[in-house]
């Protein structure tokens, strides 16, 4: 039993190894969480099927309902993972001292944040693949330039990650849990995901259009439904949110 030598031989693993290990663990933690799966997989899928099949919200523009809905639900998928899921998970990691303990490990903080981003992107790839398959089965005909779609998704991820981390790093874990879910519902209803913004009174529309979720769903819809080129207005709104939210998170995030 005590034949093992514990003689010191300290050292950090190569940064690439640490990043891969941490990204893998973060992704596993994200996908293992049941409530998380409900939020990231079940809700967007059910909404997509339900609203495609039933004419609850009459849509605008040409084409089938699914052509209107699919871009909105891709935006919702980004919101659920990058913002709600990440905020809740990180809030509780902070509360349980996980971030504190990792802070004493060889893993640099920037690498922890990179790993978190990596796990969000992996999850989003799975979400986008699943939602796309469902939408295609429902008769979706996506248009436009995939590069524009990719840019919008990445900027949306950056903006929502910044907002999620800002919330997780400043509020108590329970407050983050409540607030992140509330924001999810509000943005789902008022962010052009399934209800077109044109249905809202003109007075509130400029405010709603400035929300990151509106910019993302509107931009994705412009490309995927209408086959437009790069929607620079929406790209600009998302980029602005990303810069402000990430800077605020970097400034105000408290590790314990």
């Amino acid at each position: 039993m005590s034949s093992t030598s514990y003689a010191p031989q300290p050292g950090a693993a190569p940064i690439g190894v640490m990043l891969r290990a941490q990204t893998g663990l973060e992704t596993k933690m994200l996908l293992r969480n049941g409530e998380q799966l409900l939020l990231t997989v079940v809700i967007p899928s059910v909404l997509l099927v339900l609203f495609s099949a039933v004419d609850i919200v009459s849509t605008t523009g040409p084409g089938a309902r699914v052509d209107f809905l699919a871009p909105g639900l891709l935006a919702l998928a980004v919101l659920s993972t990058a913002f709600t899921g990440q905020a809740i998970a990180t809030g509780f990691e902070r509360r349980y001292g996980v971030l504190k303990r990792l802070g004493a490990s060889p893993l640099p903080r920037w690498a922890l944040m990179t790993a978190k981003t990596g796990s969000v992107l992996v999850t989003e790839v799975l979400q986008v693949a699943l939602l796309s398959v469902i939408a295609l089965l429902l008769g979706w005909h996506p248009q436009g330039d995939p590069a524009a779609v990719l840019l919008l998704l990445l900027l949306g991820t950056a903006a929502f990650s910044g907002l999620g981390l800002l919330m997780a790093g400043t509020l108590r874990a329970e407050a983050t849990l409540a607030a992140a879910n509330l924001v999810f519902i509000l943005l789902l209803l008022a962010g052009g995901v399934i209800v077109p913004l044109s249905r809202f009174p003109g007075a509130v529309r400029p405010v709603l259009e400035a929300l990151p979720i509106s910019a993302l769903s509107d931009g994705l819809r412009a490309v995927l439904q209408q086959g437009a080129g790069m929607p620079w207005g929406d790209v600009g709104v998302l980029a602005a949110w990303a810069v402000v939210a990430l800077a605020a998170a970097a400034r105000f995030f408290r590790w314990e």
């Binding site: 514990y6 010191p8 300290p10 950090a12 290990a21 941490q22 349980y96 004493a104 490990s105």
Partner: protein, 309 residues
């Protein structure tokens, strides 16, 4: 290689208007086990966490392995070389025990064998159990395993056996001893006297945010005048006669009827005098025991308080 693993000088740390650490000095030499002993709120955890880089000193200097944990670049050099066990938590609630240990191993260049370490600490049977479903003792042992799996040269353990059952406590002590044997420096906080007496080469007694006594357990417990002999005999012995036979400066008392206490410089000569007096008086001294001060006595003497109070 600098000779000191930890050098803390004049450390002051305040939280708001509360002073947690108030001019604390602590030197930990390389190799061996140093116990930081004191009641709750004495400043033990604040001191350790300042060494680990979690807290910024309000005054004083802290060097760990010759590096300043308050300087980001030096702290980054320090972190791969130390092992840390927090007082509680620090692990993803949804992570499985072995998964978490294996992950921590992967962050280091030359980790210990994960399965062997887990088996040694009795974590092999619960390897697939998530952290939140582990018992308190299993959670503690997992945190301990994570602190040592990277083959650190310096290990900080904050109350490593708090809440452990005797068996798990023994397993922890055995591992600490093996780490020490192989040249790892260990700093642990505890409010268990026996833990410090069993494990530590050096003990720093902390109270009110400063070190009030420091030394090996033997040095701290040694005392010229306060050793004791206790024995039981029939009540009402003529203690005046005994006192005359014993050397000057010795005190004798019947603490409770039939229970006698001799206090003084206890040496073989004194024992011989005591027992021959008993023989002449036709008294059989039963349960005769020579007492030595414990760290607990030292602590009470220094602070006037019970450690657990």
């Amino acid at each position: 290689m600098q000779s000191e693993a930890v050098a803390v000088t004049g450390l002051v740390k305040r939280y708001g208007d509360k002073t947690a650490v108030n001019g604390l000095d602590l030197t930990v030499r390389r190799g061996g086990v140093t116990a930081v002993l004191g009641p709750n709120g004495a400043g033990k955890t604040t001191t350790i966490e300042t060494c680990e880089g979690y807290r910024r000193a309000d005054a004083g200097t802290v060097r760990v392995l010759g590096l300043d944990p308050g300087d980001p670049a030096q702290a980054a050099q320090m972190r791969p070389r130390i092992g840390v066990m927090l007082q509680s938590g620090g692990i993803y609630p949804g992570a499985r025990a072995l998964e978490m240990l294996r992950h921590t191993a992967r962050l280091h260049a030359h980790p210990l064998d994960v399965d062997e370490l887990a088996a040694r600490l009795g974590l092999d049977s619960c390897g697939r159990t998530s952290y939140r479903r582990l018992s308190g003792g299993q959670q503690q042992r997992l945190a301990l395993a994570m602190a040592v799996v990277g083959r650190p040269e310096l290990v900080f353990l904050d109350e490593p056996t708090a809440g452990l059952d005797p068996h798990a406590r023994r397993a922890t002590w055995d591992l600490v001893r093996d780490l020490r044997r192989d040249g790892v420096t260990l700093v642990l906080t505890t409010h268990h006297m026996d833990e410090a007496e069993q494990l530590a080469d050096r003990v720093a007694i902390v109270d009110g945010g400063r070190v009030i006594a420091e030394g090996s357990p033997e040095e701290l417990c040694r005392s010229e005048a306060a050793d004791t002999v206790r024995f039981r005999a029939r009540p009402g012995l003529d203690l005046g006669g005994l006192l005359k036979a014993l050397p000057d400066g010795t005190a004798v008392a019947e603490a409770t009827p039939g229970a006698y206490l001799v206090e003084g410089s206890v040496d073989p000569q004194l024992l011989a005098t005591l027992t021959s007096w008993c023989a002449q008086s036709g008294v059989m001294p039963e349960q005769l025991a020579v007492g030595r001060r414990t760290l607990e006595d030292v602590f009470i003497e220094l602070t006037g308080r019970d450690l657990r109070a």
